[in-house]
Amino acid sequence: MILVSFIFLPLIAALISFGIKQESVAKTVSLLASLAVLGIVAYELTLPAGSSALQYSRIWLGSINSNFSLLLDGPAKITTLLTAVSFVVIFLATWKNSYADVNQYYGLMLLTMSGLMGVFLASDALLFYFFWELALVPVYFLCSKWGGEKRIPVTFKFFIYTFVGSVLMLIGIIYLYNKTPDQSFAWKSFKAVVLINKEQLYFFWFFFVAFAIKMPIFPFHTWQPDTYETAPTSTTMVLSGIMVKMGLFAVIRWLLPVFPEMSSKMGNIVVVLSIIGIIYASLIAIRQDNIKRLIAYSSIAHIGLMNAALFLHNGYAYNGALLQFFNHGINIIGLWIVVDIIEQQTGIRKMSELGGLAHQAPRLAIMLVVVALANIALPLTNAFVGEFLMFTGLFQYNVWYAVVAGISIILAAVYTLGMIQKVLYGEKNERFAVKDLMPLQSLALLLIVAMIFIAGVFPKPMLELGQAGVKAISAVVMK
């Protein structure tokens, strides 16, 4: 029963927010709702495994045997926690931003949260698809209405791209439903499906392409940099921090257990695609002058590594990937917050026009450096642990893959440090003055920095959260 509130609390708050006229009330409602969800998520995490509060099921469409069933397992714990934490941080950090029709903006943000929670919790394929699409619709409106220039065509491309992917997945879901032993959409029944080789081949790709577009994996990534650049920054945070995890999470829940054989057969292709993407995106990131595009490409590289890790059939890699689910989300949201602060004050995104911010805003500079170092996965930061585990897995899978992918660490250092240098140091642009962090922004960034260090020094709790999930996957996949 408690699980239902993950989805319905933001939903109700969203409906309330649509009806509110005052700006501050809408913001308060959103923040309170996200805090409440965070509280509930935190409570759920303390429950012992096997507790009845970790599952929920109710008949939804009786005649076709689809249930409104939710399940909070290891991977879901990490992603729901990430969602709840991120929304709190995002609302805090962008508290001072002003939007036209602010109540609608926050209402749509909360709707997105509701949809995301649904995706992470659903253990019924039809319900999963339902939320999968639903999470996209508010984002479409957010980006199209509040985005930067060229927002309409860019967002449209994003929407149609992901829509094409997901309708193919729908065919897969229906096909698998027909093959389940008890004609049901339940996750358990899907795992029990037996398919011949050819069917597996087709439907593996139907599912994977849908997920790959969402992540995005090379060569399905072309929507991503444009969308990240034009979307309003707080929406970009949701997109890059949480929404990309939908694809990765879906691989864990709906791809690996359902197509275990094909996942290991096709694993090599997927890993190679991911590695191409890692190197390709890193190289492009180096050439970027636009700070938003730089972060967008850096995100493609990181996501590529996580996706590769999921197909290695290696316990270390799974563990690292799950850990990185959370860490990548936190780090990239931190980066966007800094970018947003700079952009709100100066209106500039080009690194060549920025410079010398360290003198004007020392606290901002420190925060940016910490987050950026976490982005390179320096030891002591959270990303180090995750990436180390993933590279271990990759090394055990194929040494040469690890060598090639390892170059991306160096490339990441090149573009990230380059960014710090150009933005914080160097010659100061006299056309603008940057004020230092305001209290709420400091709070949001401090929270992020704290999470970076805590998870970097003491990753055990997070590793344990994912552990059960890793065991479950390993049991199915690595027979």
């Binding site: 469409l61 698809y129 639903l134 199209s144 927002r151 309409i152 149609i160 309708v167 729908l170 027909n178």
Partner: protein, 458 residues
């Protein structure tokens, strides 16, 4: 049975109302009341049986399936009267006659959905079509309307002729007009029979505007007064589909293989041409005309596989498609400019109407939480239930659904994200509430399709 008898009676009553009542508003009220009465009578038949027991000599037989679909059409028509009553009044001077014609169409619907005899099919389809020719040309001072009516009439006559030839051939093969007699399970397959079936297939495809028999649709829908386009594109099309399904239901088991090949080609063409042509339209009205062809492509899946999913699917599709299209046309009829640019900045002016229109468009595009999603879902599921043999068709259908997102969302973009001043007439508070109520209905069906489908069984 109630629908046939009372549809005709109330139509006559409506004509008298036109003589007695001078105020157009009153005529509309009477029509609305009578339509509600007709809906209640049909619902009565669903639960308690017909009011009059008529010996139909095996010419007509009602089933729960067709009664439910009738009820959906009647319900859609009540909503249509509520939303578009004012627009009907504006078309011309003979308002009562327009309403009377709509009642007569429902008599035809009653026959076409419950026939068991090919002559009755012919009668039903003709009773539906002839009033439609008149309604299309109702705006007689508008040349486009007159042209559309003439075009529709000429093309319709051909299709009628083809249907009659088909029926004659089938009679020649089996010596009977009864559906049960040419059920292929008992009748030897002969050239006459197959030829006849193909000819009927052609004429029915014409009625549901399936490609390659769709050429009349855009011109007629575009030329006809917008209110009547709405009626034609929804209620009449659903009726034609029910008749179509009934015709081939019995024979399906034997000819499945070949039948699926033929129908899959028709579906593929309908989806491709409907969707791709819709992309290039500059007028929302014409876009909706092509979209109705595209939607027909999805509804044809009900004929592809006559199974449980298809039956439930067509019920859901009829409801979802009718609600959304009627709503969208009601909004369109209020617009000054029918082009996409005419919608620019509409959300600023009329936020409530724009919101409802968005829901309708999302439903037509088949996005979850709206009824359109489950209706498309059931159609795809019906085709997949038989295995993955026609996977290419489903992939094509899904890609076409993605194409449809493009043109439906263009309207949303114009309303919400572009600046301009869209002009809309006569948006009363009552109209807004109604529109929101219809939008709510679309969402309820999108979350709980069972709420409607249960009536198929209990």
């Amino acid at each position: 049975m109630n629908l046939i008898i009372f549809g005709g009676l109330l139509g006559v009553l409506m004509m008298f109302a036109g003589i007695l009542l001078k105020d157009k508003r009153q005529v509309s009220m009477v029509a609305l009341l009578l339509m509600v009465a007709l809906a209640v009578l049909n619902a009565w038949e669903m639960n308690h049986g017909p009011v009059f027991h008529v010996n139909t000599a095996d010419m007509l037989a009602t089933s729960r399936f067709n009664l439910l679909l009738n009820e959906i059409m009647l319900g859609a028509c009540v909503i249509y009267f509520l939303l578009s009553g004012r627009d009907i009044e504006k078309v011309g001077n003979y308002v009562a006659e327009y309403y009377a014609l709509i009642f007569f169409i429902f008599t035809g619907v009653g026959i076409a959905t419950s026939y068991t005899n090919l002559l009755m099919l012919f009668l039903g389809i003709e009773i539906i079509s002839i009033p439609l020719y008149i309604l299309t040309g109702a705006d007689k001072r508008n040349l486009k309307s007159v042209e559309a009516a003439l075009k529709y009439f000429l093309m319709g006559s051909f299709s009628t002729g083809i249907m009659l030839m088909g029926i004659a051939l089938i009679y020649g093969a089996g010596g009977s007009f009864l559906l049960s007699k040419f059920n292929l399970q008992f009748t030897p397959i002969s050239y006459n029979l197959v030829g006849g079936l193909l000819l009927i297939l052609v004429s029915m495809a014409f009625k549901v505007s399936a490609v390659p028999f769709h050429f009349w649709t855009p011109d007629v829908y575009d030329g006809a007064p917008t209110v009547f386009t709405s009626f034609m594109a929804t209620i009449v099309k659903v009726a034609a589909f029910v008749a179509f399904i009934k015709l081939f239901e019995g024979s399906y088991g034997i000819i499945q293989e070949k039948w699926q090949l033929v129908i899959s080609i028709i579906i593929a063409l309908t989806l491709l041409i409907g969707n791709i042509t819709a992309v290039f339209q500059q007028s929302v009205k014409r876009m909706l005309a092509y979209s109705s062809i595209a939607q027909a492509g999805f509804m044809l899946f009900a004929l592809f596989a006559f199974n449980f999913w298809a039956r439930e699917g067509i019920v859901l599709y009829a409801a979802a498609y009718s609600l959304a299209t009627i709503g969208m046309f009601a909004v369109l009829a209020r617009m000054e400019d029918f082009s996409f640019e005419g919608f620019n900045g509409f959300a600023k002016k009329e936020p409530v109407v724009a919101f409802a229109a968005t829901i309708f468009l999302l439903s037509l595009a088949g996005i979850p939480i709206t009824a359109g999603f489950f209706s498309k879902y059931y159609m795809v599921a019906s085709a997949l239930a038989g295995g993955g043999k026609y996977l290419w068709l489903l992939v094509l259908a899904m890609l076409c659904a993605s194409v449809s997102v493009y043109y439906y969302f263009r309207v949303i973009q114009a309303m919400y994200f572009k600046t301009g001043d869209a002009v809309a007439h006569a948006v009363t508070p009552a109209f807004k509430y109604l529109l929101v109520a219809v939008a709510a209905l679309v969402i309820i069906l999108g979350v709980m399709p069972q709420a409607l489908l249960q009536y198929l069984y209990f």
